[in-house]
């Protein structure tokens, strides 16, 4: 399946979904498909991916603080058995005052550790996540602080925090 065909399939099934196809300048140019979907239909799109290719490989969640909303982009590699694969990025967003996204661990079980990571670092709550414990941060890390947020709930730069080699403050 070519990227254009894939975009057509998504467009036919889900109306009003933003799709763009980018291409880089490698000797063998590589196309990527970027899909943007609201959070209500996000899970349906993911289910559709699984129908298209049951062996799709999940790679990463890129969660980002964009001012008044939090975005999450998911990357899949599809049709890897047939040589050149399809690189699909599906993005969704949630407002900061209601940071809830649906979990997709029931469709792709490998997303669980990534969702746990996003949950502790950016404070996106995953609805129905089977294992909401912390993964990277220590268990006694204060609640309500999300290290990768850019607003006041993030961590602040501490100058020379007791580091023996730190430069003397000016």
């Amino acid at each position: 399946m070519t990227p254009e065909e894939f975009a057509e399939r998504i467009k036919a099934k889900f109306e009003g979904v933003e799709i763009k196809i980018t291409e880089n300048k490698l000797p063998h140019p590589r196309k990527r498909i970027w899909v943007d979907v609201d959070r209500d239909r996000f899970k349906d799109v993911v289910k559709f991916l699984k129908e298209l290719d049951p062996t799709a490989q999940f790679s990463i969640i890129i969660a980002d603080d964009r001012g008044d909303k939090l975005t999450a982009k998911y990357h899949w590699e599809m049709f890897w058995e047939q040589g050149e694969s399809l690189s699909v990025v599906i993005g969704t967003a949630c407002p900061k005052d209601d940071p809830v996204l649906p979990t997709i661990t029931d469709i792709f079980p490998s997303t669980l550790p990534y969702e746990r990571e996003v949950q502790e670092f950016l404070g996106i709550k995953y609805e129905g996540i089977p294992d909401p414990r912390r993964l990277f941060l220590p268990d006694d890390f204060p609640e309500g602080i999300y290290p990768l947020r850019l607003d006041e709930t993030g961590v602040k730069m501490v100058k020379n925090a007791g580091h023996p080699y730190g430069r003397k403050s000016k």
């Binding site: 880089n24 990527r32 790679s59 890897w80 040589g83 490998s110 550790p113 993964l135 080699y165 430069r167």
Partner: protein
């Protein structure tokens, strides 16, 4: 009458444990000797590289990315450079692509030799550890010869590479390949393909079936050992790799069967050693003349990237599997607005934790070693080496002196005098 008393015992392996090279914690629930649950806890070496990256510019991050991991340091800054190039639409000269291939494959050789030793060590075959690490010194010397450092060779620059491969490098690399083909590979094949003791220990231990590997998105040799023909260099048509005939290596070509056990993962690594050497030879033959950087001066990169907008993804097959970096730019910023990476050990750890269920406790060290875990990447942390000799702990200054001495031995023409930066204490 159906009531059966079960004695479940929880054993923590880690964060600091003799069987583990780096801090990570596995909480293992046991029924007798049989494992019934494995829980993974990470973050004992969390450095917050993403957070630091928000406060650096595009060029600084190249060197920060490299220091995420001491073994796949080329992979990280290569993938990051690819992400930035895709974001800004920079075209890389073809010669630079070939140099990236050569250094990347040299790194794969050293990483796989290291892992062969670690797995042999975890089954108590320490002779192999010492011999394979001795063989690894050769490729480390070549990497030092090309890049100036044993690790952190700083080869990549956005839009090209920083160091050229000249005729003398080419000769040294061909010498190294000859040495490996003649002296090292026959012994390694003897041990990891035909030795009955190794086979008895590694066969059928910690089987990751194909279904589990797909479900948990296992990467790299861990996935290919289970028969998944997935390789980013091949699937992504990355750089000039398609011209060099790269194909996913599965154990079927060597042993005829795919079982997905520890043995198969080691067979894949042995096969990739052969493949890497072939790729290097072909790349050296096909490498065209030309420039190695898209921008002659580094400040031009910052100037161009300051105006860039958009997002890019870089993917690369690191020695352990798919490595992926993401960069998003905002115009007017000289650093990325978002930089995110994912390392192959992260999904592999959870795949192997799932595969350990039902196995024996004694298989844990070898199972964990068999995915070649690089926790430093996963937690994005520093690996610390303490080197004691003659009852004296080497300090940072001593180590710097020693490494300068070694570099001068290899290349007496180097004039630069590296200095220690950032410190006030000594």
């Amino acid at each position: 009458m159906n009531e059966k008393v079960e004695y479940w015992v929880k054993i923590p392996i880690g964060p600091i444990h003799p069987a583990l090279e780096e801090p990570e914690k596995f909480i293992i629930t046991l029924d007798g000797e049989r494992i019934i649950n494995v829980d993974v806890k990470l973050g004992y070496n969390l450095r917050g590289v993403e957070w630091i990256g928000l406060r650096r510019n595009y060029i600084h991050i190249l060197y920060l990315a490299e220091r995420m991991c001491g073994i796949c340091s080329f992979s990280h800054n290569h993938t990051y450079a690819r992400a930035v190039e895709e974001m800004a639409g920079i075209e890389v000269p073809e010669r630079a692509e070939y140099i990236r291939v050569i250094v990347g494959e040299l790194e794969r050789i050293h990483s796989h030799l290291l892992n062969l030793g670690v797995v042999a060590h975890s089954i108590g075959y320490d002779t192999v550890l010492h011999l394979s690490w001795l063989a690894r010194e050769k490729v480390m010397d070549i990497l030092e010869f090309i890049g100036g450092n044993r690790v952190n060779y700083s080869i990549n620059m956005i839009g090209g590479v920083r160091r050229d491969i000249t005729e003398k490098h080419r000769r040294a690399i061909l010498d190294m390949i000859y040495y490996y083909r003649q002296e090292v590979m026959p012994k390694i094949e003897e041990i990891f393909l035909y030795d009955p003791t190794v086979e008895a220990r590694l066969r059928d231990s910690t089987v990751i079936p194909k279904r589990i590997a797909i479900e948990y998105s296992a990467q790299g040799p861990t996935a290919r050992g289970s028969g998944i023909t997935k390789d980013v260099r091949y699937n992504e048509k990355l750089g000039v790799y398609p011209d060099l005939g790269v194909k996913p290596v599965t154990p079927k070509e060597f042993t005829g069967v795919i079982k997905g056990d520890v043995f198969d993962r080691m067979v894949v690594r042995v096969g990739e050693l052969w493949q890497s050497m072939e790729i290097i030879e072909r790349a050296l033959d096909q490498m065209p003349e030309g420039k190695i950087k898209a921008f002659p001066k580094d400040n031009m990169i910052i100037f161009k990237l300051k105006k860039a907008e958009g997002e890019g993804i870089g993917r690369y097959e690191a020695p352990r599997g798919e490595l992926i970096h993401y960069v998003r730019a905002e115009p007017g910023r000289d650093g990325p607005a978002k930089w995110k990476m994912r390392e192959p050990t992260f999904p592999n750890l959870f795949a192997v934790a799932r595969a350990l269920v039902g196995e024996q406790l004694a298989d844990v060290p070898v199972a964990i070693a068999s995915i070649d875990p690089c926790l430093s990447c996963t937690d994005r942390v520093a690996v610390i080496d303490a080197n004691t000799g003659k009852k004296k702990v080497l300090t940072e200054v001593d180590l710097l002196k020693e490494s300068i001495k070694k570099t001068k031995e290899i290349n007496p023409n180097i004039k630069a005098k590296p200095e220690r930066v950032g410190g006030v204490g000594l």
